[in-house]
Symmetry: C2
Subunit: 357 residues, 2 copies
């Protein structure tokens, strides 16, 4: 028969991957119950939202089941008190520590150069489409001075969690992890009046100090412009590629071509182009109105040398769902095929992405 | 009777305000013709586009007419050759030298925080309205990474002139002086991949190294965000105030409130709020469609504590004129009253601008 001491001894062999100390030493093993050949262990995690939870539980089970005389092993989870957690916080947390714990397969940035063309919307629709396809998805809002993502996903606001060494993304209803400066501000109207170096550092922290866990896709919503934020993302994050967003105006096309040129300069592949606000379908007459003028999407895509992934109409429903934190409910038909094509270019195993000429 | 030598001697007393040397010494006095009591002088300027032209001619006339025996004085103007001009260029031009020569009465920045809401359009319509009212107007495009202004004014591109110490704004058809990074790039699609400090320096040069001359109004079109460009403009330019631009989405309102907070922090008065893309009038049915959702302009204006200057509809004509460099031809009715109200708040003698609470 196995003893409590043997179980505790076995758990001394299990490391918390974040805190780099064993579960017993960390005070995580709260209770060990034995019923014949069955073991029940209660573990106190620093936070139940920890993306490393499954890994810790799996390691603990494996260690205990390896003991002679153990046939079943059940793990119950509880959370440490704020004080207990505080005690585990390293005095000088290493910056970027979370990055080593993250396992992110594809990082895709959504970019335009131009503002207000719908980068955040495309980012959200892409994240939603990938999530619906069963993927593990994160959404990093790299727009530090004009963050739009939280309002689209959290009707009542949200607060990111924290482990002793890292921030945790806020979880959307469908399970998309979201990190944005607006989740960290006291009021969402608060201005972030920072010069470029601070903007860049904030984005790097969203990458290196956020425990995203295991993700199939991390979607990065870039701000307008080809300055600090875009540079930081393109230089410091291991991007699989960028998706470009434009709107019908030739003016927007010009600025998007600048963004494409930047991606080329920094050798980041462009996955494709999406035109947003291409047209408005009059609900009364069913007629299509090009309210921002005729489309230039095809010629812009050709000028850049990338596939045109699709054109999205203006849909008042979008504004409503975005403003009320319900963007995950959107399923407009015109968007579905574009989102699918987008998800397709963002999926592995497809032909290599096109580099701008 | 006056002699040629006397005329030249008188012109030795006239200084070029930019080059700080007299006209004779600078080699500007090309020919002096005498016919009785009439004097005709040919002056070679560094550039005929020089905004200081009238001042130089006036000073020269005054000096010569003060001579005994001169009753009439005519000045003919010509331009120096590139080589002559080059010789006059100071070896180390003092940065910001043009600022001392400029006489600008009101500097108004158009800001939003959010991208794509129509800052450039509002900047242009404001400049056009002021110009139509007979004012001397300049337009400084402070959006270095996504400059929209030149495309709206110059169908075939434009090149800014230069004096030996300063850049000259490009002149629009109605006489608005325009300066933008896109006037200085080899190709308008060229990306400006600069970090914040360079962005800030470019904007400061557009203020201090551009010879705007005498202006009633300089309109500054800001990029989205509350980072480097906005900070530089608010900290280094003597702003009379800012005009805020929003769009119907609540999301946009949130980002505009951030911009308002920034203006408050930096103690720049807010002149008022304009909502762009408020609605679309169906040309078939005449019905008003709120394609980006219901307006939040009134509540945003109240939250910030500034007057709502008006709501602008979506008008396909705008996109067409903007894309073809003909924005000065636009006279849509819905815009006229807003532009007039805008011009009114931007005019001197009105009640003090409202500061955000």
């Amino acid at each position: 028969m196995v003893t409590r001491e043997q179980v505790r001894e076995a758990l001394r062999g299990v490391m918390d991957p974040e805190l780099k100390r064993n579960l017993v030493e960390l005070g995580m093993v709260r209770q060990v119950d034995l019923t014949g050949r069955q073991v029940q262990v209660t573990l106190a995690l620093t936070t139940l939202a920890c993306p490393l939870k499954d890994r810790i539980v799996g390691d603990a089970r494996q260690a205990v089941l390896a003991l002679d005389g153990v046939e079943q092993m059940e793990v119950r989870l509880t959370e440490m008190s704020v004080e207990e957690k505080e005690r585990l916080r390293p005095k000088e947390p290493a910056s970027g520590a979370a990055a080593d714990l993250n396992d992110i397969r594809h990082v895709i940035a959504v970019m335009s150069g131009k503002g207000g063309v719908g980068k955040s919307l495309v980012s959200a629709l892409l994240a939603n489409a990938l999530r619906r396809a069963g993927k593990r998805v994160g959404l990093l809002d790299a727009d530090i001075t004009g963050p739009s993502i939280p309002k689209m996903y959290f009707p009542h606001g949200a607060q990111p969690g924290a482990t002793p060494t890292a921030m945790l993304p806020a979880m959307s209803r469908t399970g998309i992890g979201v990190m944005s400066i607006n989740l960290l501000l006291e009021s969402q109207d608060q201005a972030v009046v920072w010069r470029g170096p601070l903007i860049g550092r904030a984005i790097q922290q969203f990458w290196g100090d956020v425990l995203w866990g295991s993700l199939d896709y991390l979607i990065v919503d870039l701000p307008p412009g080809t300055s600090d934020a875009s540079l930081t993302v393109m230089q410091s994050l291991p991007l699989s590629g960028v998706v470009l967003v434009t709107s019908p105006q030739d003016l927007a096309g010009m600025v998007v071509r600048k963004a494409a040129q930047m991606a080329g300069l920094l050798r980041v592949p462009i996955l494709g182009l999406i035109e947003n606000m291409s047209y408005y379908l009059c609900p009364d007459t069913g007629k299509l109105h090009e309210v921002f003028g005729p489309s230039h999407a095809q010629e812009t895509a050709e000028a850049i040398g990338v596939p045109l992934l699709g054109k999205l109409p203006i849909d008042p429903e979008i504004a409503k769902l975005s403003d009320t934190g319900r963007i995950e409910e959107f399923g407009g038909e015109a968007f579905t095929s574009v989102a699918e094509r987008l998800a397709a270019v963002a999926l592995p195993g497809r032909p290599p992405a096109v580099m701008p000429a």
